[in-house]
């Protein structure tokens, strides 16, 4: 079991970060008419829904959203064993701007897998990356286009993103495992 070390985002911080990222997406893409939000399961798809709501408030139109399960594209299936696979439902990406959405950006391996998965689903005009929390410790050459919060962490800590619909309220927490044997997100 892990113990709570700090609560680093409260519902208001969460909402403000989401609003800012939504504005940045709209600004960078000169509107959102070509944007498709692709949330990485599970967590990213929930945050993608929040961003879509914010974009709808700003632009008057809700962008299409999809949810992507990257399990079958992971590079560690052989080490970790067969993890549960959920449905991938992604709208047509051809010629659109796909904004990949994830809750925690850590080693970059999840995003690498997501890029491969998108490659098999269509050919977007561009792919961008939005993350709620960037906690560092990248193992691959990647960076996010939109970041809700930069959060310096140690590799052994766990970053947990809470969503109202699952956990009762929105927020971000840092948890610490007892002694050694740390496994990341």
């Amino acid at each position: 079991m892990t113990t709570l070390k700090a609560r680093v985002m409260e519902p208001d911080d969460f909402r403000r970060a989401t609003t800012r990222v939504a504005h940045e997406i709209v600004e960078r893409n000169q509107g959102a008419s070509d944007v498709v939000l692709v949330g990485i399961r599970t967590g990213g798809d929930l945050w993608a829904g929040r961003i879509a709501t914010e974009i709808e408030r700003i632009e008057g139109k809700r962008p299409p959203i999809g949810s992507l399960d990257i399990t079958l594209y992971r590079d560690d299936i052989a080490q970790r064993g067969p993890l549960p696979v959920e449905r991938t439902e992604v709208p047509d990406l051809n010629g659109r701007v796909a904004v990949l959405v994830d809750d925690v950006f850590f080693t970059g391996r999840t995003v690498r897998a997501a890029l491969d998965a998108i490659n098999d689903l269509g050919r977007p005009r561009a792919i961008q990356l939005a993350v709620l929390v960037d906690r560092g410790h990248r193992e691959l050459p990647m960076r996010a286009d939109y970041v809700g919060k930069n959060l310096p962490t140690s590799a052994r800590e766990n970053v947990r993103v809470l969503f109202e619909e699952i956990d009762g309220s929105d927020g971000v927490e840092i948890h610490e495992p007892p002694r050694s044997a740390a496994e990341g997100q």
Binding site: L72, G81, P82, P84, V85, R87, T88, E89, D120
Partner: protein, 312 residues
């Protein structure tokens, strides 16, 4: 899947939770078959051997497509085109295949129990693709998937399995699987075709179809396996047709939302009427297309974590 489930030899290797896991995973895999690029890289570098000692098109092709969609390499070995013809034993064939790097062996064999034997000599994953009159567990899984997808759940459904029960591995695995998932299974056949001890599968045995026909949610028909009959079990095919066949008259007496299933190959005019086979109530095509997704799920769940299972 519990780590001790290394092979699928019998449907009873899987508990209800594990069957649900396979069916749930299959639902996610079904979407891959609807994409333009019907392939995921999950089992890159792994090898699946289809070792078939009996003819089969449907099952072999279904396993082959399933493994290829997961990016595994697939090798097909049939007994007529291999050293088996030169008298090689199953054990030696298995050793050879393992030495050549097979990670999984999908075995179809005319002898009941052959997959269980194979699993003792090899550390590859063994999947039973039909052994004699014993079991055909992946057929049961795809049938459960098809019924669950159609009705939403298997719990409480009345399922009639009709025909040559004694010689049918499909019936055995199906009856065991359906009852494990909470359905009520009736096996309906001439007395000569009901195996001894069928009640142990958790089913009700009946020698007449007509009294229960109108109560069944699923009418599951089987082919007469004449190649496995050592002595005549029926006065005539016509007699079977008159008492157990899904005739046009029987088709209209089905419940409104009842469905008709058949594992194939169908013998029209023996167990199923020509028109009944084409009727909107049949799920035969759904069964075939479910086969790929269900076998992908199973291969993934059995092979995906093999490396860890060995280390840990």
């Amino acid at each position: 899947m519990r780590p001790e489930v290394k092979h699928l030899l019998s449907i009873t290797d899987l508990g209800r939770d594990e069957i649900e896991e396979v069916l749930h995973t299959a639902a996610s895999f079904e979407a891959i078959g609807e994409r333009e690029i019907k392939k995921v890289p999950t089992l890159r570098g792994r090898t699946v051997v289809n070792l078939f000692y009996e003819n089969s098109t449907r099952t072999r092709v279904s396993f082959e497509i399933a493994a290829k969609r997961l990016s595994a390499d697939v090798i097909n070995v049939s007994s007529s085109a291999s050293s088996v013809e030169k008298g090689e034993s199953l054990r030696d064939t298995a050793k050879t295949l393992r030495a050549l790097g097979a990670d999984a062996i999908v075995l179809r064999h005319p002898a009941s129990g052959a997959p269980a034997l194979l699993a003792r000599f090899t550390d590859a994953v063994v999947i039973n693709a039909g052994d004699g009159s014993h079991e055909h567990p992946t057929q049961a899984l795809l049938d459960m998937y098809t019924v669950q997808k159609h009705f939403g759940s298997l719990e409480g459904l009345r399922i009639g399995i009709i025909g040559d029960i004694a010689h049918s591995r499909v019936a055995r695995s199906g009856a065991l699987g359906f009852s494990r998932m909470g359905a009520r299974v009736f096996v309906i056949a001439p007395p000569t075709m009901i195996p001894v001890g069928v009640r142990a599968f958790g089913c009700t045995e009946l020698t007449e179809l007509d009294p229960v026909l109108g109560q069944l949610d699923v009418v599951y028909l089987l082919r007469l396996q004449r190649e496995r009959h050592r002595e005549p079990l029926l006065p005539s095919e016509h007699e079977f047709w008159a008492t157990y066949g899904l005739t046009r008259e029987r088709l209209v007496r089905l419940k409104d939302d009842a469905v008709v299933m058949h594992p194939g190959p169908m013998n029209r005019g023996v167990e199923i009427d020509w028109d009944a086979a084409e009727s909107s109530a049949t799920l035969v095509e759904a069964q075939v297309s479910a086969g790929v997704a269900v076998r992908m799920a199973l291969i993934y769940l059995l092979m995906g974590g093999q490396a860890t299972a060995e280390v840990a």
